[in-house]
């Protein structure tokens, strides 16, 4: 469960990205955070994943207070999340297989078990045939799917996706929304930040709308 109470985030320079936001997300929910660009969608996701710290308020994830967490405990918190980024953040000197392997290396899985899981994740996103190629040879849609494979290989309980369809055409985008849907169906909490309300409607999610840092619905 994720719960935010009275969370504000002010960036250095006085820009308020979030203003006193309170919300609760239950396990297994599928939630879409929408709003214009600059409304605070990315900031909200970063606060939940402890990439940023709130200026005020508290964030509870799985019973842990993220806003007061020691830096050494953050890595273990992050292992609960699968993160999908708009810019993919892939490692270009590693093969497709090795990119997906990274989270398992970090958590520490045996080699054989890891390989099985990596192949299963790649199969799910339809990239099994490309495991030996390098990400640079993939199209934008394929890179995004690779990013999703890396996010789900660890079987996280919470999937956070920031503008996952930002640069993709409609066919690719609905493809990816389908992936999130199927992931939610096996029990994971899915939180997607997107400016594209029409696209997220495909998921039939709970909608959280942000406007200038305030939660409006």
């Amino acid at each position: 469960m994720i719960s935010l109470s009275q969370v504000s985030k002010r960036y250095p320079g006085g820009y308020d990205a979030l203003k006193s936001v309170s919300l609760t997300i239950d396990p297994g929910e599928i939630v879409a955070v929408t709003g214009h660009s600059g409304a605070g969608k990315s900031t909200l996701l970063k606060l939940i994943a402890a990439i940023e710290r709130p200026t005020r308020g508290s964030i509870i994830v799985n019973g842990q207070n993220v806003s007061k967490m020691r830096p050494s405990a953050i890595p273990y918190l992050r292992r609960n999340f699968g993160l999908v980024f708009q810019d993919h953040k892939l490692l270009f000197e590693r093969t497709v297989f090795e990119n997906v392997l990274l989270p398992l290396q970090i958590t520490g899985y045996a080699r054989q078990e890891s390989a099985k899981r990596v192949r299963a994740a790649l199969d799910k996103v339809g990239l099994l045939g490309k495991e030996k190629t390098y990400p640079i040879t993939l199209s934008g849609g394929e890179q995004q799917r690779l990013c999703i494979a890396r996010a789900i290989v660890n079987r996280p309980t919470i999937l956070l996706a920031d503008e996952p369809t930002g640069n993709l055409d409609a066919a690719y985008a609905s493809d990816i929304m389908g992936l999130f849907k199927s992931f939610n169906q096996v029990g994971a909490t899915v939180i997607i930040a997107s400016h594209d309300e029409f696209m997220v409607q495909l998921l039939n999610p709970r909608l959280l709308k942000l406007d200038h840092g305030e939660l409006v619905s």
Partner: protein, 302 residues
């Protein structure tokens, strides 16, 4: 535990791969480390050899007391009692002039020359071992004895050996200073290498942190890299020293044979070799650790 071991294995493998990915840069770095370490290590070996040589030729320091030619047996007896009663004398030995001549005659080469002498040119002598064998103690005893009647000449044997020892001590100090300075330089070399690596792997580190990698996980391959580089440098230093000894050893053997001393330059022994290589590895690890601790914190995902 199994996971922990496997990650150490992975880190080692990753470090090795990184080391081999830039063979030219790695060779240069390892060469620098090797050459820098071979200097104090080589000097240490030379000094060690000199030390064993000095031990070979010098025994305990002795004082030789030569009586004047006019000394009568009564004078000799008087000095004998004085030596017996003296608190600073541990042991002494009387060498009568006849015996000294006979000894001299036995010495190859000059026996014939001695035989042609009409009279014995040698004085009676005492060979004295002092209780206090420090340089000051010996010198005090020497000057005291030389003031006795009938003492013609008092000589401190093996004084040169003590001087040599003092020089060796000085030499060791110089080597120590050199080793410290060069060690700092080596730590700096590794520090910089690792800094550059961290910069080029910025993306990877950032992503690893986002995915939940601990500091230790990220740090480990860099530490292994530093240690491996240092280890290789230590091995190179050892090879440089070994080859130098092999080359110098022949020349020194020829030289000492001319002085009829049999002397062989010895190599670094097993434990010294081990210490050299391990110390070098440790220096590399230290440089990497300092660098990683300093630079990894600056890379936080945004």
């Amino acid at each position: 535990m199994k996971y922990w071991l496997s990650h150490h294995g992975q880190s080692l493998w990753l470090a090795l791969k990184r080391l081999l990915r830039n063979p030219f840069a790695s060779t240069l770095n390892i060469g620098v480390i090797g050459i820098a370490l071979s200097l104090p290590a080589g000097l240490y070996v030379l000094l060690d050899n000199l030390e064993s040589l000095s031990r070979q030729v010098s025994s305990e320091p002795q004082i030789s007391l030569f009586l004047s030619m006019q000394a009568t047996p009564a004078d000799v007896a008087q000095i004998q009692t004085r030596l017996k009663d003296h608190p600073g004398v541990r042991q002494f030995q009387f060498v009568p002039r006849d015996k000294a001549l006979r000894e001299l005659q036995k010495t190859a080469g000059i026996g014939d020359a001695v035989q042609s002498l009409t009279q014995n040119p040698l004085p009676d002598a005492f060979i004295i071992q002092a209780k206090n064998s420090s340089a000051q103690g010996l010198e005090a005893l020497r000057s005291e004895i030389s003031s006795w009647p009938n003492a013609a000449h008092v000589q401190l044997d093996s004084l040169w050996a003590q001087r040599l020892e003092a020089f060796l001590r000085l030499g060791k100090l110089v080597i120590l200073l050199l080793a410290i300075l060069l060690s700092i330089a080596l730590v700096a070399v590794t520090f910089n290498t690792i800094r550059l690596q961290i910069l080029t792997q910025r993306d990877e580190i950032e992503v690893a942190k986002l995915i939940g990698a601990t500091h230790r996980f990220i740090r480990r391959p860099f530490l292994y890299f530093g240690a491996l580089q240092g280890l290789a440098g230590g091995v190179i230093a050892w090879v440089i020293v070994a080859v130098s000894i092999e080359v110098l050893g022949k020349a020194i053997g020829d030289l000492t044979r001319l002085y009829t001393i049999s002397f062989q330059l010895s190599h670094l022994n097993m434990s010294d070799s081990g210490s050299l290589v391990l110390f070098s590895a440790w220096l590399g690890w230290l440089g990497a650790w300092l660098s990683v601790s300093r630079h990894l914190r600056q890379i936080e995902p945004r």
